[in-house]
């Protein structure tokens, strides 16, 4: 006959076995979870609800971003660049200053635009409501959205008329802030530092190649390009140059960067007419 001790031992063992899978959820309290699952997003008149995006996230996003939003889905080993870890609350494409959270609109736009030259497609097939819900779902993975507010979008002055002088001035900015060190003098991502670049998680990362692709990652208007180097791409070696480049100079740089891109543009034609030479890293400072 089974003794009482044996019965207790069996019960305790069974309890321990059943409890094991639950330990992985221990870091989230129920209160945290409730706070986050009720996360909302606000884009214009739309209000997104995290809980309404669960099915879409599972269908479309989870293979890369993972069940827990940590970027560790089953496709993680096979895709490059690696999927975003939403738990960190750090995003490349923002309208807000470096180090701050993006606005809901930033995330909303990123979902529809996708990230060129990555495995993040353009999810323009979602309805606006579905996208708003997904923004809320993305936010619910990180406690940053509970404790912090998004940054204030940077101010972008009106775009001036492009001129030959501005393109040349932009080239000088390109040389002065040493964009070429990573992006190369021709924008081909082959600068002397390119091979050493790592993201914040210590993973190798390539510099942006201006001569490839059909569009920049975070938007293809001149305002988007302005925004990219003035806010920086958080989580990557691309810093914000808001403290190093004045707004007027920033527009000059935008015009110069256009001349490096593959696509035909007014700036590119003007640079060709000027016979504009690439920067010379070996020239003395100020004469590059």
């Amino acid at each position: 006959m089974r003794t009482r001790l044996q019965t207790w031992s069996l019960l305790m063992s069974a309890t321990a076995v059943l409890a094991l899978p639950m330990t992985s959820f221990a870091q989230l309290t129920q209160a945290d979870f409730e706070t986050r699952i009720n996360m909302e997003s606000h884009i214009g008149n739309l209000t997104g609800h995290a809980k309404d995006a669960k099915a879409d996230y599972r269908r479309y996003c989870v293979s890369c971003h993972g069940d827990n939003g940590d970027g560790n889905g089953e496709s993680f080993p096979w895709v490059d660049p690696k999927p975003r870890d939403f738990q960190l609350g750090i995003f490349k494409c923002r309208s807000t200053p470096t180090g701050t959270l993006p606005t809901d609109q930033d995330l909303f736009d990123t979902i529809a635009r996708g990230l060129d030259r990555s495995n993040m497609p353009q999810w323009s097939t979602f309805t606006k409501q579905e996208r708003a819900d997904l923004v809320a779902w993305v936010k619910h993975f990180s406690p940053r959205w509970v404790n912090e507010k998004p940054g204030t979008p940077i101010t972008i002055p009106p775009e001036p008329e492009v001129t030959a002088e501005r393109i040349k001035a932009g080239r000088d900015v390109f040389a002065r802030v040493q964009c070429w060190k990573c992006h190369g003098v021709l924008g081909q991502a082959n600068g002397p530092s390119a091979a050493t670049l790592q993201d914040d998680l210590g993973r190798p990362i390539a510099a942006y190649n201006f001569t490839e692709g059909s569009r920049p990652k975070c938007g293809d208007t001149n305002r988007d390009i302005y925004r990219i180097f003035m806010t920086g791409l958080d989580g990557t070696p691309m810093p914000s140059f808001a403290d190093n480049i004045k707004p007027d100079e920033a527009w000059d740089l935008v015009f110069y960067l256009r001349t490096l891109m593959r696509q035909n543009s007014k700036e590119k034609s003007m640079a060709k007419q000027l016979g504009l030479k690439p920067v010379d890293p070996n020239a003395p400072a100020g004469q590059q």
């Binding site: 309404d52 599972r58 479309y60 089953e74 496709s75 996708g114 990555s118 495995n119 497609p121 097939t125």
Partner: protein
Amino acid sequence: MSTSTRSRMGRFSVLTSFSAAALVLIFLVLTTSQPANALPAFARKYGLRCSACHESWPMLNYFGQKFKDNGYQLMNDRDAPIWQNPGYWPVTFRIIPIWHRVSTGKNVVDTYAGGSTTPTGSTIQRITSSGFDLSGLDFHTGGTLEKNFSFYVLPSSDATASFHFETVMARLDNLFGSPWLNIKLGKFELDNLLSEKRILTLTGNGGVYQLYHFSPVGDGNIFGQIGDNQLGVELMGHSNNDRTRYSASLLSSSDGNVGLITGANSYTGFFTASQAFDVGKLGVDRIGAYAMVGEAATYYLTSGGTPIAGSGIGNKSFHREGFVGQFYFGQHFDLQVVTQHGWDNAWFGQGYGNAINPNNGTPGGGTNTYGINNLPGTPLPGGAQAPTWNGVLFEPHYVYSPQLIFIGRFETIRMSRQANGAACTACTGGLGTGGQSPSNLGNISTYTVGFRYNPFMTPRAGFAWHNEYNWLHSDGTGPIVGATGLNINTGELLTGFDFDF
């Protein structure tokens, strides 16, 4: 114990067994569900789960349709094969072992009386057979040759491994940088929003859309089947987000058969246009229209009385047109609707047009079961008229999760004008030479229900446990008793493992 008590207990026992089986099924579904991973050929390339492109494989969802419309490209500047591991081979095999039970009513069966070894008469009876079986093998390979150069090749076999080319096409995508200009050349599926090649059902009658293949009884036109892959060229375009789509195809009137065996210089046009609408939390709904307008030969030159392949002339016209609706009601329920109005020239209605039927033996010979050569001097029988019909199909889906989908379908097609009109005395359409056809001759109604459950999928393979029942009723197509044919009911129950790798 009384008989009724035993009967009640028997019913109780059966109910209990069914309940237990249902519980086991639910338990299995709920406990063995794993994350659905990617479809082999494209998912290996992009790392997306199959559910990203498929409502349930192989049926495309909106994102999958956009991917297809872009030429199997995500448009992320990494679509060209140069970006893939050199070992990547964009191929998927699909074959389905099944068990099915087919029951067909109103068969004419010989009878033997008094020990006779030769038939002494006949009777009409239902024939039911069941057993294990195989589908054919599909060998899908497709993708990009370079950015904006895409292809698809699909050698396909029947269950005995007799192969043909179901699809062979190359496509120039985004000409002049515009998604509105894409040109495809080869043999391909027509731009049907509700794709038959991606149908979620597998039975003999339920595994096709009847509406896509309908032909009036005795009609000789095999060329108007919008469900068959066709040879031709397609111009297709769409907006960046695929909300607006159009296509225009020029096709050989050959029903996709190679070798120019049918008509000389007979062509068909197929046109589609659709617009999707953002309907908030319901999803993206789409409505569209299609039209097929064509001509096909009804007269073939003969040699020794035998039609000569490729010599078809005497083109007669036909058309089909209709509307398509894809209505989504949240994340779990959707309804697909297709309508059709069809019209065949009266010559087709009298059985002309399919004198060379590649599906019935060798070209120029063979055993045509219908399709008469329109020899010179042949008069159109008095009272013959152009057959017309109207049809509609409704296909609701309940998507419990990307891994479990319940499918239903109702299709009905009603003749609105028979080929043999009231003035017919010796018409050759309908049930054969004779007078006016019954108004309901050839009408079809069919119901299909089923579910597909994917217990797992990996980036290398997919697997679905498929279960389905189809019932089809057709009016007047059975054995002729008196002046009319009998109605036929056909049922099929099927279960199988639908896998690809």
